[in-house]
Each structure stands twice: as C-alpha cells, then as structure tokens.
C-alpha cells in the first residue's frame, strides 16, 4: 500500500504556529502525500478574501497525532515558527532577506513597466489605424507616434512599488530552524498504527467517527473504515458500537475500533501493540 522507497526522503518541515501543525511547502505536502500517506487538510485562504472559505489552499494542517507519527517515523520535523523567525531576525540572514525583498520589488517594477510599454504600443497602433481610416489615406508613417514608457530605466528604491511579502521562506533556513522534537500530545496509537500500515486518514466527522480510513489515496479510493480509538481499559458503551456499526454499514464501510494493549511482555516495536476490531452489520 505504501510506496516505501529505499531512498530516505528529506524530512518535511512542519511549522508549529499557535498550537497548529502546518505545512507551507508545496513539495513537502506532495512528499507527505506520496510517501507518508498523509494528506492533511487545506486551510489556507486568500489574505484579501478571508471569507472565501470554500476553496482553500496551502498551507495544510495536520492533526497533532499525525505530526507526532510523522516525526516518530523520521518523515518530518516540527519547527517552532515564531522562535525560528526571531532567530533569523537576529543574525545575518536578516540582511539577505532585505536584499531579496528589494529584488522582488525590482522584479515587480520591471514587469509592470514592460506591461505598460506593451499597452501603450497597442494603443498607439489603434490610434494610427483610426487616423488612417478617417483620413482615408493609404499609409501613414508611424514615425510621429511616440511610445511612452518603452525605455526601462533603473529606478531608485523610493520609486519602487511597495510589495506585500507573502512568504518569509527566504528568511528561514535550516540553520535558523528551532526544532521542537516530537509533538507533546496524547498518545494516538491507532492513528500511528494506521499510518505505519499505509492507510490514509481524513477527518471522520462526515461519517460520524474520529477518522475516515482509506486503503490508498482518498482521491482514488473510497474509505473502508470509520475509526475510533479507545484506551485499552476504556469503557465502550455497546450502544456506541451499534451506532458506529449502523452508520458505517449505511455508507458501505466497516466501523473500526482499536487501541494499544497495555503492558505486553516482550520487545515493543515503535509501532506499538495495537489491536483493532472491524464491525459491520451482519444482515440478519
């Protein structure tokens, strides 16, 4: 199920911001999806249209237990983003960042200048044609049509456009990253078990459980399970089992319950000793 390649992929950078685990890097998102069966949830909206929340984009948000499992598998590392920015601002990468901002401004200026030049050229062309028609003259020399703004000149910093930076990617690098280790969240053995075994998980809300579990990429497969995690000695009301079974069977899935068996003698794998049970309606 999981396409585990022999090459160890570079760990994906997960930014911890205000207690949320986010991935901003498109390549990281692709890598997580391709190699670590983790999709995350798109949560990014547009800065100028924050109410537009139907089509969301980067970053993706990961559930804390997903981030935890990824770190344990060595597929990602979590960075305290605020601290990383502080570190970066207090060392030499600040200068480099200011330089990239200036370059961005210059590029923007150049693009706009070129576009304006092209526009006025087209405009002049139209005027010339109009004159030709009005005068009913076969040809008018275009020499007298001036092309404004066609000569790009290097402007001073003051003349440059103000650019709103959309990323601080240039500011941060591996040196400034403040890695905070494995997320300190409650253990999620079921999620870890599923992730280690190549299953994809999405939030289970729409089917009435904690996770919807897919045998492959959710774009290619229907979910097979609705999964809930329980502690080994946690009491599960039978009514919940019946409800879960009903809900899952109604959408052609199985209801999966699972948890980690406590104190099992013998060597414990990093995957843990998770036992799961699949429940579906018996049809009688």
């Amino acid at each position: 199920m999981s396409s585990s390649s022999s090459l160890p992929a570079p760990a994906v950078r997960i930014s911890l911001i205000a207690g949320r685990y986010l991935v901003f890097d498109p390549e990281g998102v692709a890598a997580l999806r391709r190699d670590s069966n983790t999709c995350g949830t798109l949560v990014g909206t547009m800065p100028q249209q924050p109410t537009q929340n139907i089509f969301l984009g980067l970053p993706i948000e990961l559930r804390p237990e997903e981030a935890q499992a990824l770190v344990q598998r060595g597929r990602a590392h979590v960075v305290d983003d605020a601290a990383a920015h502080q570190v970066a601002m207090h060392n030499h990468s600040r200068k480099a960042y200011i330089e990239t901002l200036r370059k961005t401004k210059q590029t923007a200026h150049k693009v706009v200048t070129e576009r304006n030049a092209q526009r006025s050229a087209e405009h002049a062309d139209k005027i010339a044609q109009g004159q030709r028609k009005a005068k009913n003259v076969e040809s008018v020399p275009l020499d007298n049509v001036s092309l404004d703004g066609a000569s790009p000149k290097t402007p001073s910093d003051a003349q440059l456009f103000a650019v709103t930076p959309t990323t601080t990617k240039e500011l941060l690098n591996a040196k400034t990253d403040v890695v905070c280790g494995s997320p300190n969240v409650p253990e999620a053995p079921l999620a870890r078990h599923l992730q280690y075994n190549g299953y994809y998980m999405t939030p289970g809300l729409r089917f009435g459980a904690r996770y919807s579990v897919y045998p492959g990429d959710p774009l290619r497969f229907h979910a097979h399970y609705m999964a809930n995690q329980y502690a080994w000695e946690e009491e599960i009301p039978i009514l919940d089992v019946v409800e879960g079974g009903r809900l899952a069977t109604a959408v052609k899935k199985a209801f999966l319950i699972g948890g980690e068996e406590a104190c099992q003698p013998g060597p414990s794998s990093d995957e843990g000793n998770v036992r799961t049970y699949s429940i579906e309606w018996a049809g009688m």
Binding site: H224, W232, E233, I238, A248, K252, A254, S278, I279, E280
Partner: protein
C-alpha cells in the same frame, strides 16, 4: 469486567434469549453454549445459509462461477455468537479476551457475531472481525 467461573444469572438469561432467537427466528442449528475462558458464555451454531463471505472470496466466487458455472463459498460456517445487552459497557480488553478464547479456523480473520439485546427483546446482529477486515460490497 471480572472473570467469573459461572456467569451471573443475567448473562445466562441474556444468552438463552439470543439462543432462542437464533433457533426460532433465524433457523440456526447445532446451537451450543460454551462457557468460554473469557468468563463470558459464547454460543456456537450453524446458520441455514452462509452468513459472511469476505469481499475477496466474493470476487473469486463470481469469477469461478463465470468460468465454470459452479458456485463456491456457499456452505454455511459455524459461527460464534456473543450475547450482550445494550446497556453494557465493554472494553477493548474484554473483546480481546473473547477473541483470544476462540480458536482460529480457516484462512480469514477470527470473527464473532455480536448479538445486542435490547429490553424490548429486539436483537441486532453485528459481525466483529479481529483486525482490519475491509467491508463487504453490499
């Protein structure tokens, strides 16, 4: 749930209710109650028709039938039934001890039938498999 040598009367009654339902409403045969090591009695019995076919076996059966006209995976299999009341609370540990008390037979994962009894004597039956068993294509 503590381990009983003799199950309490309520559990005995619950189990016999399910047993009667299987016998009279669902036409099961060879019904037997065994006091499993888990402390919870289990009913074993033979349904009139095959109760469960794994989706992969289903595909194989259809293919086989298409090729040869012969139907396979049709014979009923002996099933284990666990009677529980709707008001009960079970833990994963309890379920594990029930599964550990039954012998593994056949190529597929262990399974039990969870018979859930309500006070109005409604009984709903659920298949419970050990491990991750993909759902049937109903």
């Amino acid at each position: 749930m503590t381990t009983f040598s003799e199950p309490p009367q309520a559990v005995v009654n619950l189990t016999s209710t399910v047993l009667s339902n299987l016998e009279d409403q669902h036409d099961w045969s060879h019904l037997e109650i065994s006091n499993a090591r888990s402390g919870r009695p289990l009913i074993s019995g033979l349904p009139p028709r095959r109760l469960y076919t794994h989706p992969d076996d289903q595909i194989a059966a259809l293919e086989h039938e298409h090729k040869t006209g012969e139907r396979i995976f049709q014979d009923p299999e002996t099933e284990w039934v666990l009677a529980v009341h709707l008001a009960e609370k079970w833990t994963l540990a309890d379920f594990a001890s029930v599964f550990d008390s039954i012998e593994h037979t056949g190529p597929r994962a262990k399974r039990i039938i969870l018979a859930t009894v309500h006070n109005d004597s409604t009984i709903v039956y659920y298949l419970m498999h050990e491990g991750m068993v993909k759902p049937r294509q109903n």
